[in-house]
Structures are given as structure tokens and as C-alpha cells.
């Protein structure tokens, strides 16, 4: 009987393989464990608030009546921040990747990255101490000239510490994230596709519309969603800038609140059921962020056939 000579193998080479695959598996599992642990913690700690009698929750109308306005406030602040930041970020990214001379481009890219390095409490202090007073005359003008729109209804806040100011500060904070990711994506556009567009007689802007933006679209969506994640979860800046209050449609009056700022402001003095309520609010924020990310993935995969990956 002969033994198959192919069954013997050099053991030394295999050990490294096993260690490496074990390490990657462990890293992958660790992420899941941490995520699951956080979710479990949030759910367990939140249950008392969810099952408590309505009268015991702050406001006296139950958890959902308490959290509803704050969720809306959070979404308003995040959406306004993205509406302001996204076009600017894409514009800056395109300028750096396709318009600016090479020297200027690298300098500008560095400055934009530097924006991301500023701590959020500094943004908050800047927003509260500088931006709010500077911008309040503009709110006065909006109230008297465009007050017929519910979102600009007067009387405008005299301090300028409104949800719109908070959103503007948030937009400056998410700008570097969206800009640097978009810039990386735009720089990766295949030269082949850019030249194809130019050779057809496209101007530079047409080339960007034809080759750069379609190629970068999934990347832009991911960048915006990352920015949205930051805007939804940003705490310090909103807590410092916004003079919070009940939900109101007007963006230039004080009022509204975001989940993260609500938790940060109330957690230190909270006890008992109040803690559970705030953790449940955290759970809601977690679910919203998860939902946003899933929608982003769905948008990206929907156009996979045309993505150029095939």
C-alpha cells in the first residue's frame, strides 16, 4: 500500500496562515460582540422607561410623547447641516481634485483635513460666543421679510442661539468628512473614462458630469451618510449653541432639542427612571443611525449593475 505523497506538507508555512486567519476572525467577531453588547445594554437599560406608566415619564405623557419632538429636532438639525454642507463639500472636493493647480490643491486639502481635527467643544464655543451674536441680525431680517414661511416665523431669537445656528455649526463640522472622502473618490476616477469624455468634445464640467460624478456617486452617498452619522450624534456643539426648548417649526426662535444634547445635558443629574428614559433616547438614536446606514447601502446596491464594478 502506498501513501499519497501529496498529503505531507511543510508545517512551517501553515502556522503563519493559521495565526493570521485566526487573528482576522477574532477581529471580525470582536466588532460584532461590541456592537451586540452595546445594543443589549441599551435595550435592557431602556426597558423600565418603555414599560413605565405614562405619568412617571418626564412631561407626563409617556416615553414616546417625550422622545418624539426630540427625534424631530435631531433630524431637522442633521438634515439642515447636510443640505448646507454637501454642495459645499462636493464643490471643494471637485476644486481640489480637478480644478486647482497641484500646489494649491495639496495645501487646501491639508486645511480641510485640519478642520476635522478641531475638537467639537471648540466648535460649540465658537458657535455660541461668535456665530450666534453675529448671525442674529440676519434672523431679525428673515423674521420681518420672510416671516410668512413657518420656518422663519418671528419673533427671532435675540441671542441667535437657535436650531439654525446649531445646524450651521454642525455643517462646518461635517464638511471635512464629506470633503476628504469625496476628494479621494474623485481622484480615483479612471483616467480612461475622463479621457473618453474629453475626446468626445466635453468641457471640463461636462467631463465631470459624465465621468467623475457617476463614478463617485456611491462614494458620495457613503460620505454624506458618514457626515449624517456625525451630525446626528454630535453632542457638545449643539449643547453649547442651542438654547433648547419645546418643538417649534420656526428655525430662528429658540426651541427644539436633539437627542445627543438632551442626554448630555440631563445625564449628570439624572437618577432612577430618568436614567432609563435617557438611555432609551440613546437607543432611539442608535436605531435611527442604523436605519440611515441601511438606506445608504440600499441606495448604493440599487445601481450596482451600472457601477462599473462588472
Amino acid at each position: 500500500m502506498t501513501t499519497n505523497s501529496l498529503t505531507t506538507s511543510q508545517g512551517a508555512g501553515r502556522a503563519g496562515d493559521k495565526v493570521f486567519s485566526g487573528a482576522t476572525l477574532a477581529a471580525g467577531c470582536l466588532i460584532l460582540v461590541v456592537l451586540f453588547g452595546v445594543a443589549l445594554f441599551l435595550v435592557v437599560q431602556a426597558i423600565p422607561a418603555l414599560v413605565a406608566p405614562a405619568a412617571d415619564i418626564q412631561g407626563g405623557n409617556g416615553f414616546f410623547a417625550y422622545i418624539g419632538p426630540i427625534v424631530v429636532g435631531t433630524l431637522i438639525a442633521a438634515v439642515i447641516a447636510l443640505v448646507i454642507a454637501t454642495p459645499v463639500a462636493i464643490g471643494v472636493a471637485l476644486f481640489i481634485s480637478h480644478y486647482a493647480p497641484r500646489r494649491l490643491a495639496s495645501g487646501l486639502g491639508y486645511v480641510v483635513d485640519l478642520l476635522a481635527a478641531i475638537p467639537s467643544v471648540v466648535y460649540g464655543a465658537w458657535g455660541a460666543a461668535f456665530l450666534a451674536p453675529q448671525i442674529s441680525p440676519a434672523y431679525g431680517w428673515l423674521a420681518s421679510n420672510m416671516g410668512w414661511l413657518p420656518i422663519f416665523q418671528g419673533p427671532a431669537s435675540a441671542t441667535g442661539k437657535t436650531i439654525l445656528t446649531a445646524s450651521i455649526v454642525l455643517s462646518v463640522m461635517v464638511l471635512p468628512i464629506i470633503t476628504s472622502l469625496s476628494r479621494e473618490i474623485f481622484l480615483q476616477t479612471p483616467k480612461l473614462h475622463e479621457e473618453a469624455a474629453l475626446a468626445l468634445g466635453a468641457t471640463r464640467w461636462e467631463m465631470i458630469k459624465m465621468a467623475v460624478l457617476p463614478f463617485g456617486r456611491p462614494g458620495i452617498v457613503s460620505a454624506v451618510m458618514l457626515g449624517l452619522g456625525r451630525a446626528l450624534g454630535e453632542t457638545m456643539a449643539v449643547a453649547l449653541v442651542l438654547s433648547s426648548g419645546a418643538l417649534t417649526a420656526s428655525l430662528i426662535q429658540s426651541g427644539n432639542q436633539t437627542i445627543a444634547a438632551e442626554i448630555a445635558l440631563n445625564f449628570p443629574e439624572a437618577s432612577g427612571l430618568k436614567v432609563s428614559t435617557l438611555i432609551a433616547a440613546g437607543l432611539v438614536l442608535f436605531v435611527i443611525t442604523l436605519g440611515v446606514n441601511m438606506i445608504a447601502r440600499w441606495i448604493i446596491t440599487r445601481h450596482k449593475e451600472f457601477s462599473g464594478a462588472n
Binding site: 475626446a199 468626445l200 468641457t203 451600472f306 462599473g308
Partner: protein, 259 residues
């Protein structure tokens, strides 16, 4: 609908590096002209100066004149965008826009500069261009599918359809078959033979048999050594270049003694 090209004393630079020196060549309308020569001799670089694609690279510039029926491409006030609508280009690797359907790929150049086109006219143009590129029968049932789903040879013919849809005067081809299999190569070569009835075709090729098969005239480029500029050595009828060249270097190259 085709124009001749006359090149006078053209020097091509990358920054301060002289890549191609002193080219004088007259390319007839409605003919196929092939550029052959060893790698790095500047034939692709020279081709890209004929529709001002050369200057897309940073630091690239030219000296001299390229006349398209007497109009200097490098004259003052000439917009490279206008030049490129007159002189189309097909690249080495097929490059249909991956995010566009086959139909939209064909119409990509036509819809530029905010030109509007009715659906009927667009349909007719798509069919005419795809028939012109010998691709219509293969794709007519899947015009809305992405162009990147086609085979390499079909993609290259789609790129040719896209180039002829804008009705250029001249079509430049930069080694259009080097990424294709022999069957697809044959299809593209047949197409080149048909294209010369309407267009001036200039093709760069590494394949001397291909130059012999498709071209009326052949230009041989050579380089004296690394770091030296490429030069046009000989330009004549294809049969002359391959059977009875006047230069020793040309004879050595076409007979396979170097390159």
C-alpha cells in the same frame, strides 16, 4: 465629411523633455494612415497631439502647426473642445462609460454642450452609429443594458460607434486592437476598412501585419535611444514601406530585425 491633416515642424514636449521632434506629415482625407514603430518612439504621443488630447497631461505642450484642412489646431483662440468634436478618438482599452446604458453611451457625445435631440432623431442616430460600427445586430435587443456588460471587442466597437455618432472629420485610433482577441480584432479591422469611405482614419499599431492589412499609407517612427526624442523616419505608401523602404532603419524594423 472628412478633412486632411497637414503637420508642419511639430515638436512635442512633456515639461522640458522633448518627446517627439520635427514631424512633417501630410495625411490625406478618406484614407487610413498607420503609425508603426518600437515602443516609446512617440507615435501615441504624436497621435494625441492631433486632437489636442496631449495637453490634458500636466506640463505637456507642443510647438509647430497642425492644420485641419488649413485651419491650425494650435492657432490662437482655438478651443480644444471644438477640435475634439472634429477629431474623434478611440483608445487602447475599450472605455465605455460604465454608468451608462449602451444607448446612452452612443449618445454621450451628441448630448454635450446642452444640445437637445428628439427621441426619434436619437433612436435613428443610435441605430445608424451602431450599424456603422457593425454592432447593431448584436446589441439591438439590449440597448438599455450597461455598456460594460459587453465583450471587449463589442465594447471597442461601441466606443467607435460613440466616436462616429458626433460625426467627426477624423478618427484617431490608439492601438484599438491591442486588448482584443483575434476574432474581435478582425471585426474592428473590417470596420476600419469601411470607415475610410467617410472618414480620415489614423491608427497607431504595434502589429505590423495589421498596418499592412488596413492602411493605405504608413509612417514609421523611431527613437535613437532612451531619453532621445522620437522622430518620423519614413512616410510612404504601405506597400512601399513594407516591400521597398528607402531607409535602412525601416527595413530592419519591418523585416523583424529589431523592435
Amino acid at each position: 465629411m472628412s478633412k486632411r491633416i497637414d503637420v508642419k515642424d511639430l515638436n512635442v514636449y512633456y515639461g522640458s523633455f522633448l518627446a517627439v521632434e520635427g514631424v512633417n506629415i501630410n495625411i490625406e482625407a478618406k484614407s487610413v494612415t498607420a503609425f508603426i514603430g518600437p515602443s516609446g518612439c512617440g507615435k501615441s504621443t504624436f497621435l494625441r497631439t492631433l486632437n489636442r488630447m496631449h495637453e490634458v497631461l500636466p506640463g505637456a505642450r507642443v510647438e509647430g502647426e497642425v492644420l485641419l484642412d488649413g485651419d491650425n489646431l494650435y492657432g490662437p483662440g482655438v478651443d480644444p473642445v471644438t477640435v475634439r468634436t472634429q477629431v474623434g478618438m478611440v483608445f487602447q482599452r475599450p472605455n465605455p462609460f460604465p454608468t451608462m446604458s449602451i444607448r446612452d453611451n452612443v449618445l454621450a457625445g451628441v448630448k454635450l454642450n446642452n444640445r437637445r435631440i428628439s427621441k426619434g432623431a436619437a433612436d435613428a442616430l443610435v441605430e445608424k452609429s451602431l450599424r456603422g460600427a457593425n454592432l447593431w445586430n448584436e446589441v439591438k435587443d439590449r440597448l438599455e443594458k450597461p455598456g460594460s456588460g459587453l465583450s471587449g471587442g463589442q465594447q471597442q466597437r461601441l466606443c467607435i460607434a460613440r466616436a462616429i455618432a458626433v460625426e467627426p472629420q477624423v478618427i484617431l485610433m490608439d492601438e484599438p486592437c491591442s486588448a482584443l482577441d483575434p476574432i474581435s480584432t478582425l471585426a474592428v479591422e473590417d470596420l476600419i476598412n469601411e470607415l475610410k469611405d467617410e472618414y480620415t482614419v489614423v491608427i497607431v499599431t504595434h502589429n505590423m501585419q495589421q498596418a499592412a492589412r488596413v492602411s493605405d499609407k504608413t509612417a514609421f517612427f523611431n527613437i535613437a535611444g532612451t531619453g532621445k526624442p522620437g522622430k518620423l523616419i519614413e512616410f510612404a505608401d504601405t506597400t512601399t514601406i513594407f516591400n521597398n523602404p528607402s531607409q535602412k532603419a525601416t527595413e530592419d524594423y519591418v523585416s523583424g530585425r529589431f523592435g
